[in-house]
């Protein structure tokens, strides 16, 4: 293989890789805080990209209505629970109004702004807002009651959520795929390499995001609360950290990461309503390589996965996906051997 081709494949692989990094981090985050192996993560990716496509065409994306419906359902359930605990009506009402204010605000802005031909970046923010809000409501409705359920139950539920979201994706966006316009046209020449500016942007945004997350986990109170919950749920609860709130926050962050990954990926690949599963699973494969615990290991594995994919598609393009998913087997072998050496029961 000549070096320029290798260079192209390398850049291509890393561009995909940084997107998988975001997904792998989201997977590890969700699993460590809530113990959910959230198979449906990829749906947030497609929802983000396809919502933007709809907004760009001057349509209101169906995800907005979904977000509103889930918001009302969540707030209603919360209010019903509070009333059952005999909390005063005034407080319940205030909480409900407060809970609905943000989703309604988002809805109003989107509805009003969608026909105005706003620039791409403004529409992107709207799409991000919608999908990020979907995250906590998904947690509230599907998982919160099951916080103490077995890993297995949580995993099966997440598959149920995946099916609902894919089905709704078809309703909202139809069977045709879409490819969004690039955020940054043109390319940068570095030596013999030609790197698309969009790819550069993707890498920069991903790195900034990872740094921001690291800072938030390290220094902010909420970030610390999430870390505490991940280390010891029961202990965190004893010091007053609500696992429900930790779960909702986690899902918001994860949905944001996934939606952003979708926005960054969509100029490069055509996304369909059902593309989410395969994309999300790639994040998962990388996360599993980190034992579903380690962020740096997951991120490194995600970059590696991007490279495997790009070189794999060069050598055996028809089996590209098969190669990527088979990559989990050596990873499992390695984990298994390491586990046997540690000699313990997990």
């Amino acid at each position: 293989m000549d070096p320029s081709l290798a260079g192209i494949l390398l850049v291509d692989g890393l561009t995909h890789g940084v997107i998988y990094v975001q997904l792998a981090i989201a997977c590890v985050l969700i699993f460590s805080v809530t113990r959910i192996a959230f198979i449906a993560l990829g749906e947030f990716v497609t929802f983000g990209a396809l919502s933007l496509a709809a907004l760009h065409d001057g349509r209101v994306p169906g995800t907005l209505w979904l977000m509103l419906a889930l918001a009302f359902a969540s707030v209603l359930l919360d209010a019903a629970g509070a009333l059952r605990r005999h909390e005063p009506l005034v407080r319940v009402t205030v909480a409900a109004v407060r809970g609905l204010s943000l989703p309604i605000l988002i809805a109003v802005v989107v509805y009003w702004g969608s026909t105005r031909g706003w620039p791409l970046w403004a529409n992107s923010l709207l799409a991000l807002a919608i999908v990020t809000a979907l995250g906590p409501y998904t947690y509230r409705l599907a998982f919160e009651r099951l916080a103490d359920a077995s890993l297995l139950t949580l995993m099966i539920v997440s598959v149920g959520v995946h099916f609902v979201m894919t089905g709704l994706g078809l309703v909202f966006f139809g069977a045709e795929g879409s490819r969004n316009p690039s955020y940054w046209e043109g390319a940068t020449i570095a030596g013999s390499l030609r790197i698309a500016n969009q790819a550069l942007l993707t890498a920069i945004v991903s790195i900034l995001l990872v740094v921001a997350l690291w800072l938030a986990f390290r220094f902010s109170l909420r970030g610390k609360a999430l870390r505490a919950t991940a280390i010891d749920r029961f202990g965190a609860r004893l010091v007053g950290i609500s696992p429900a709130r930790a779960g909702r926050l986690t899902f918001a962050v994860a949905a944001l990461l996934a939606a952003l990954a979708g926005l960054l990926a969509a100029p490069g690949t055509t996304l369909f309503y059902d593309s989410g599963l395969v994309i999300g699973l790639k994040g998962f494969v990388a996360a599993v390589a980190g034992g579903l615990l380690s962020y740096p290991a997951a991120a490194a594995a995600a970059l590696g996965l991007g490279l495997i994919e790009s070189f794999g598609s060069f050598y055996a393009s028809a089996y590209k996906e098969a190669v990527v998913f088979t990559a989990i087997l050596p990873v499992l072998l390695w984990l298994s051997i390491r586990h046997r050496r540690a000699g313990g029961e997990a």
């Binding site: 609902v164 998962f284 998913f325 989990i328």
Partner: protein
Amino acid sequence: MTRSLPIDRIPVVVAVLLLALLPMLPVNEYWITQLNFIGIATLVVLGLVLLTGVAGLTSFGQAAFVGIGAYSTGYLCVVQQLSPWLGLLLGLAVTVVFAGALGLLTLNLSGHFLPLGTIAWGVSLYFVFGNTQALGKYDGLVGLPPISIGAFALDTGRSFYYFLWGIVLLSALALSRLLNSRTGRALRALKDGTAMPEAMGINTFRTKLIAFLLAALVASIAGWFLAHYQRTVDPSVSSLRASIDYLFMAVIGGVSSIGGALAGAAATQILDDRLQVWLPKLTGSEGHYEVIVFGILLVLLLQSANRGLFGLLAGWATQRPRRVTPDALPRSDRPTSQGPLLRVRGLTKQFTGLTAVDGIDFDVHAGEIVGLIGPNGAGKSTTFNLIAGALPPTSGTVTLNGRPVTGWSARAIAHEGLARSFQHVRMVPEMTVLENVALGAHCHGCAGVLAAVLGLDKREEQALLNDAAAHLVRVGLAAHMHEPAGNLSLGSQRLLEIARALSTDPALLLLDEPAAGLRHAEKLALAEVLRALSAQGIAILLVEHDMDLVMNVTNRIVVMEFGRLLLSGTPREVQASPAVRAAYLGTEV
């Protein structure tokens, strides 16, 4: 064997009769088709019942095994023009290879790696099927021959129906026999972690692998049926969607019951079919809306946490209590070496920043009862776990019967003749008291899956259960033999643990707070049991807080404080020691 039909078998007999008579009635061909698809799905779901409902593992890749079964026979019949029966064999062989490899990779990791591994692998296989020229790419293979038995081709819905359902019912019978066997008990003990079964000498990894392989094999057989019924194979048989459909059927059916597998498969198949007709009418457009309904149903069903819609109908509750006659117990003569049975030297365990056990030395001789006491946090339970192999020591040696067993696994140490109870009772609440105790006797049997399925294990089973019953008589639980263990009071549960430990036929018995939760009379009875055991030559190491009991039954006492050995002596010496009093009550100022 049984003359009159037991009442709990009536639904089974009625169901079988209905299934047998149905095709003879003038039913629409549509229903025969539906029933054939239901039968195929039931096979896969039976595997999931074993894997998920019984063993507590799950796979999102069952459709991949269906795909292997279907494509193997498709390839041999269409491309190589060979017989479907060879296709079946090839499918089973390929399945064993892949399922074995996946199982070896994932089954000793914690529970969620198997489903994640199977998802990724299943998706990968889907793309392989869809991109391989020899397998017809995404169009698949067409023109498969029907299955023929001798010269008789099963090319009508009704003839296929009889063959398929015959196999389904045989599989259900086999599964039911398996669950009520020695291997079945080990499988059912897997759900709540591996510590207890391993301490009973059960190889949990092997047991999990058996469950995974069996589930994969029935899925592969289902794929063979599917291929020859549809007469075509395409990649959709092995899609993730299909895998989840099977799991959904299992969940709807209550996951753990054989009857539920059939009910869940039937309900899902019919609902799926109807929804595909109704929903487009309702919404006025085409689309896979049934997926949304299924997803929501799945979430709601798991949230309401019941045993599935049909969980109450059937189950392995259909088993009847076996008649047991508590035998006189044959005692194995373990070759005893000279010197102490258990010798502990310099035993140390450091957790990060904390030395829980610090250079402990003591011996236990055959027939001796040794008490291990000390204030809370002294390191008694850690010492206990180090000896039993539940934790690896940082340094020091443990010698059992003259053999160095330091750092051995709990299972290997159990085989050496050490049996233990747990501080927090560990048992299988849904199994009967007798079955729980029989878990301890696991190592004394050798009947495997095949013997259980063919019913060749009857004599050995009877011996194991008689043995277990005798131990129950010994600890005074004979009256509760056939109750679910979960119904017992805490005190009785502790006695159950002792009986279970005894049925491993141990030389050394480690009891972790056996008297906690016992009433006074029960404690007296326990003391009697312990004395009788020691009279038979069994050595006992006892961690206990009840000083009356400890002072009454032990020959010697080892006192620990802050991980160190404080004192070792007779009960009288220990009681007289000011150091011990200070450790428990603090010193006077």
